[in-house]
């Protein structure tokens, strides 16, 4: 019982941190943080990062990692953009096909990761480092280092339009967060993800098809990249390969900060969502205060190490416990 309380209290602590940061930056910026403009930008900005972080979260829950997130999104975006900017297609076809290609190709890339990781049992980190390089290479090849632009007008709606006053990117993020929540915490597959993340041998011995579970995890991770790519290309009206690799680290930080165990098995979608907001708020706040963006990188790196170090110290307490068990 205690455990559950402790778990949800973690989320409250995070919420507290978020509130504190908002107040801090709010005061420091003399209220500028709360101007409609900034909030609007914020609402349009964080979903693409958020989707990537959710994609990272599912991989980390299984004890893996997806280093290819950003390059998956980039390549998916480029493939989508190539369809979108194809003058031979009429607008509706271009947009429909573009979205399908973008999301579909991302899922395929996830499937490639999943196939190698799940079927061959190759460590996820290495596989995704390999695919990261591979996807980047393909992207560079397709764009030859340049950018693709010239999308149909309507397509910008994805990145900058609103439905009922809610920005579409935000809506997309909320929908995906809810879907992920349901998948992870309410379906047999989700339950298997958690159990497998803690101990894949036990799940295998319990008749769970680890390969299938893992494969889907990486496809889902790819799907998140595809959706993030949609927002990216529509927001910038063009696409190129280099979206900034610091994203990758920031997604890991968000997931870990949100209470997900880097070794797998634990983590709630709610925690990740709040952590995403915290990190984006720091970025926005620094930006607003005119602090060099690089401080964000340093901060995020430091926070990541600090959180992990704290967790590892906590866990070494747990370890003692299990030692005792063995002997008792």
């Amino acid at each position: 019982m205690k455990k559950i309380k402790a778990k949800s209290s973690e989320v409250y602590v995070l919420l507290g941190v978020l509130a504190a940061i908002i107040i801090l930056f709010g005061v420091a910026s003399g209220g500028a943080l709360f101007s409609g403009n900034i909030l609007q930008t914020f609402a349009f900005q964080f979903p693409e990062f958020g989707l990537l972080a959710l994609g990272m979260m599912v991989a980390i829950l299984t004890g893996g990692i997806n280093m290819s997130l950003v390059s998956t999104a980039a390549l998916a975006g480029i493939l989508g953009a190539m369809v979108l900017s194809n003058p031979a297609l009429d607008e509706t076809t271009a947009i429909t096909l573009g979205i399908v290609v973008c999301v579909g190709s991302a899922c395929l890339m996830g499937a490639l990761n999943g196939a190698i990781i799940a079927c061959l049992n190759v460590p996820p980190m290495l596989v995704t480092i390999g695919t990261m390089t591979l996807f980047e290479g393909i992207s560079l090849n397709l764009t030859e280092g340049g950018a693709i632009s010239g999308f149909p007008e309507t397509f910008f709606q994805v990145g900058s339009g609103s439905i009922l006053g809610i920005p579409i990117p935000l809506l997309l993020f909320i929908i995906m967060a809810v879907i992920l929540f349901l998948l992870l915490e309410k379906t047999p597959w989700g339950e298997k993800v958690y159990m497998l993340g803690s101990n894949p041998k036990v799940t295998r011995y319990s008749g769970i098809n680890n390969t299938a579970v893992l494969f889907r995890v990486y496809v889902l991770s790819g799907l998140m990249c595809g959706l993030a790519a949609l927002i990216m290309i529509s927001r910038y009206n063009s696409t190129k390969v280099d979206y900034g690799a610091s994203y990758l680290l920031q997604t890991v930080s968000a997931v870990v900060l949100g209470g997900t165990s880097i070794s797998g098995g634990y983590g709630k979608v709610a925690g990740t969502v709040i952590a995403i907001l915290v990190i984006q708020m720091i970025t926005t706040g620094f930006n607003l205060l005119g602090i060099n963006k690089l401080f964000t990188d340093i901060c995020v790196g430091a926070v990541l190490i600090a959180v992990l170090a704290a967790n590892s110290l906590k866990e070494s307490g747990k370890l003692n416990f299990s030692k005792k068990r063995n002997l008792a």
Binding site: M125, L126, E136, E144, L249, L294, F295, D297, L308, S312
Partner: protein, 335 residues
């Protein structure tokens, strides 16, 4: 003795075969490939990678990884640039400064991984992002130029220089000595020192290593510090070749280094890996890049090739491992 050699060779034999096939293909594509000038060019352009890979090798044998290596090299080049332009000194002092700086960052990684027990990938990702921020903050992304001669001339120094009649010359580049030195040192450390064998022992079985008297934390920390020192050395050589300090020169470098080490037969799960294999891995990757240029394949394809090579190399590695485990004798059945 022979059996062990054969066993280590098995993996290396695979890469050597591929290596030779690739060389033949490239030579057919462009016979300039095998010219002495081109071979020297390949070796020289890969010295930095070669030295860095030796450091990475140690970490990978322990079962860890160091993704901060590219940015550690970068920050050392910045330190070198600042030191040599502002303080002066000489090459010897500069090398000491570079290695010490690298070692300091290696120590930080070592403490995080060995003492705080953070997963190596995350710990080094964290330091990577901190160093990345620091470097760009300090340099503003700007180059440092006009370095003193003793460092900027390093890449142009040759031993046994022989002028050719038709202009041009042959000679033994001084910077090769750095690579050769690093290879010999690393080989000696891994093969002939107790801590080197400890790196294999810890990578193979931490608990047993502790039982025979090793202190795994120290051994691990040593591996990361050594990687830092190699990063420092690589930074010196790099600066000596390019003669400026470019804060963005090593973006994405870590993945290439990891790829080279893995292609060279080191096992990412720890326990296996040799200096010979790693060095061949580096040269192999260098040859592929060089060959693609010679065969007029757009540079963008190089990344694809590298990605594919990583995927294939790690997959083969893991599949081999699984097969071996499957074949392992569990019960002595007597007929």
């Amino acid at each position: 003795m022979e059996r062990v050699r054969n066993l280590f060779k098995k993996k290396e034999a695979g890469i050597i075969t591929i290596f030779i096939i690739v060389m033949i293909i490239i030579t057919i594509g462009n016979n300039a490939f095998l010219s002495p000038a081109n071979i020297m060019n390949i070796l020289t352009t890969n010295i930095v990678m070669g030295i860095a890979a030796l450091g990475m090798l140690l970490v990978i044998i322990t079962g860890g990884i160091d993704v901060s290596i590219g940015w550690v090299i970068t920050i050392v080049t910045v330190v070198i640039g600042e030191f040599s332009t502002k303080v002066g000194g000489n090459l010897f002092i500069l090398i000491l400064v570079a290695c010490a700086t690298g070692a300091a960052f290696g120590l930080a990684n070592g403490i995080l991984v060995a003492h705080l027990k953070l997963p190596a990938i995350v710990a080094t990702l964290g330091t990577m992002s901190i160093i990345n921020g620091l470097v760009l903050l300090v340099t503003n992304g700007k180059y440092i130029r006009e370095l003193p001669d003793y460092i900027s001339g390093l890449g142009q120094q040759y031993l046994f220089k022989v002028e050719m009649a038709e202009g041009g010359f042959y000679g033994f580049p001084v910077i090769w000595l750095f690579w050769i030195g690093a290879i010999v040192l690393t080989w000696f450390v891994l093969r002939h020192t107790l801590v080197g064998r400890g790196i294999y022992a810890v990578g193979g079985n931490v608990e047993s290593a502790e039982r025979v008297g090793y202190r795994p934390k120290r051994v691990l920390t040593f591996a990361y510090v050594y990687t830092g020192i190699m990063a420092g050395l690589a930074a010196v050589v790099h600066t000596g070749i390019v003669r400026i300090v470019d804060p963005l020169a090593f973006k994405g470098f870590e993945m290439q280094v990891i790829a080279a080490v893995v292609v060279g037969g080191a096992n990412v799960l720890g326990g296996y890996g040799t200096v010979l294999g790693t060095t061949i891995g580096v040269i192999f990757m260098g040859v592929i890049n060089n060959g693609m240029v010679l065969m007029h394949i757009p540079t963008f394809y190089q990344k694809i090739a590298v990605g594919l090579i990583i995927l294939i190399a790690v997959s083969i590695d893991v599949v081999q491992q699984t097969m071996k485990e499957r074949r392992m004798v569990k019960v002595d059945i007597k007929d």
